[in-house]
Symmetry: C2
């Protein structure tokens, strides 16, 4: 088979540890299914600030651009939190999204059986929760003009939120396409009773919906959505929303599953190009101790195989292996609920490798 | 005692029913404590659209301006949902906030004992939750310039989010003042890693904090706050944030208490001027049937007595009466959990009146 190129960005904190296990999984999957992967490593985030003086070195961008997909661990940590804006890991994140055209962030929020008690929601409310937040990732207030100016009321700061029809259309189409492969329900979230961008958003989603007559579409105001996620999480299938609302709601949705440490995510560009990363952060407090749980990163790799390379069978195999290992009772310390026999990062990786 | 003037806006749906009970409570409190209240009614929201052709008639604004405080029921309903912007109840809401200078929205989120099972959160997580969201209400993206323009990517919509130092300072001071009267903890919520307005917000809050050395201040990113509210709701005391974030987080916080139908709110202007209303909506589906629960509106009246008039004793008496009536097992149907002996709106009002 054709060799697929993957840019690997380990990043900061536990990033390198979890990415190492995901790379082993990639290799194993290649052997088992006869696929060929070529990986190229690059610096990004805090470590890039330290070694190259910028969170997103030009070279890293080049490595990503010549690859077919990007695997990312995690970035950031207290060490860089008080840096000026250009020297902060987040600035690198926003930059890589924009530069690679990753306009769509997919965040599946599912409940892992072994973690359902970890949720702060009642089990009967959580039952059956399996939703996907589709967040617009390169527009809105994140990327609009920002500035300060003097006014008679003291200094004023301004952020601009803009969306054009093309931007809304492509994310809407993607959300409808995803809904078609799931339970065919789409909740479009906006604040159309206040924002002009939301009114454009809603009009455009309604227009696109004509091409997807099978999908049941509802419009939910963002404040109401924050409530409904708590009240009836299992009633949502796909949620599509703009950048800032998606940031807030996808975190709320992930947290309520109780499984946030196990969730994968994909940020997609045009075509099948994508960047894959765990939802969890860089967890600097446990970095370098072999305590990190590699499952979210391994599941992000499965997403890559499915969404970018179309290797559905291999993706299934990884997901099945993870389920099997968890069913057999294997746990890293974050999900061991105090049991004394937790596996290390590499031990968990090995169990999954063996199960593939 | 001096006569206090109260503008009464019954509004739509169940608004008139719940406001009627709150007015009786006001009168009773006047008799018991020797206070004198003068009420003046005005049209607002859907009913004002129907009768006057605008959600916020000039006359209504006049009535509010010559009063010391405003009592509001609820506005809106499906009848007006598809109206053009100028003819929608929400437009009236935004207008009245701006015109009356109601820059601060206080939303206490507490758990009523009799409703703690109504929450979708586990009781042990909810235990001790008693927080107050202080939302900036007349600035930010709600009131910034909005427009559309043509671009090469199709029509584009723009919203502008602006905050000046004066606006942030006054809401920050109010939040610190409130925290001083509570558990002395303040969480300031922003998105300072992305937004310029949030950076100004954070700098200003930090500057103001110098005047409140006793208050423990934390800065929480909005996405993280949406998660922490689920994970550790009882650890929050006062949360202060900008308009859009406050809209989302105050609804999330209210919903997680399980007591959303019982929560009061206050929107404060300069000095002690305030508008008081229940957190719940106009519930058009049950309007006119005597099913509505008047408690949130009655508790909003208690807030008015305390915050605008300084009648703390009378406010305490109302809150005590509500607690007593609930402890005695009286319920309206929304909180009766299927029991067959639910009281009507007026019966519940009467019980509370008798308990004062
Ligand atoms: C770090 C931050 C800029 C980023 C965002 O807000 O997009 C993060 O919260 C996320 O959700 O990926
Ligand atoms: C109706 C709407 C404009 C309003 C808001 O967003 O402020 C409402 O959601 C609220 O919270 O009072």
């Amino acid at each position: 088979a054709e060799t697929k190129k993957i840019a690997v960005i380990a990043g900061d904190g536990i990033g390198p540890e979890v990415v190492a296990e995901a790379e082993k999984v990639l290799q194993k999957v290649g052997e088992v299914f006869g696929y060929s992967f070529e990986t190229e490593h690059a610096l990004f985030g805090g470590i890039a600030i330290d070694e190259k003086g910028t969170p997103l070195p030009a070279e890293t961008l080049e490595v990503c651009k010549r690859a077919d997909a990007v695997l990312l661990g995690a970035v950031g940590g207290p060490k860089w939190d008080n840096n000026p804006k250009e020297l902060r890991p987040e600035t690198g994140l926003l930059g890589i999204r924009k530069e690679l055209g990753l306009f769509s962030n997919l965040r599946p929020a599912v409940v892992f059986d072994c973690l359902k008690d970890a949720s702060t929601l009642k089990p009967e409310v959580l039952e059956g929760t399996d939703l996907m937040v589709v967040r617009e990732l390169t527009g809105g207030i994140y990327f609009g003009e920002k500035f300060r100016r003097q006014t008679e009321h003291g200094e004023e700061a301004v952020d601009t939120c803009a969306y054009n029809v093309t931007e809304v259309e492509r994310i809407a189409r993607q959300a409808f396409d995803i809904a078609m492969k799931r339970r065919k329900k789409l909740a479009s979230v906006d604040k159309a009773n206040v924002l002009e961008t939301s009114r454009l958003w809603r009009e455009t989603v309604i227009r696109v919906s004509a091409d997807y007559p099978e999908v049941e579409l509802e419009h939910v105001l963002v404040d109401n959505c924050a409530m409904q996620l708590l009240r009836r999480p299992s009633s949502f299938d796909v949620i599509v929303t703009e950048n800032m609302f998606g940031d807030i709601l996808s975190d709320e949705a992930a947290m309520l599953t109780g499984s946030i440490g196990m969730l994968a995510s994909a940020s997609m560009g045009e075509g099948s190009y994508g960047l894959y990363e765990p939802v969890h952060g860089s967890a600097p407090d446990i970095a370098g101790q072999g305590l990190a749980n590699p499952i979210a990163t391994i599941l992000s790799t499965a997403l890559m195989l499915r969404l970018t390379f179309g290797y559905g069978e291999a993706a299934d195999a990884i997901e099945r292996a993870v389920a099997e290992v968890l069913d057999a009772g294997h746990r890293t310390s974050d999900i061991a609920a105090g049991r004394g026999d937790a596996l290390s990062t590499t031990q968990m990786g090995e169990q999954i490798l063996n199960a593939i």
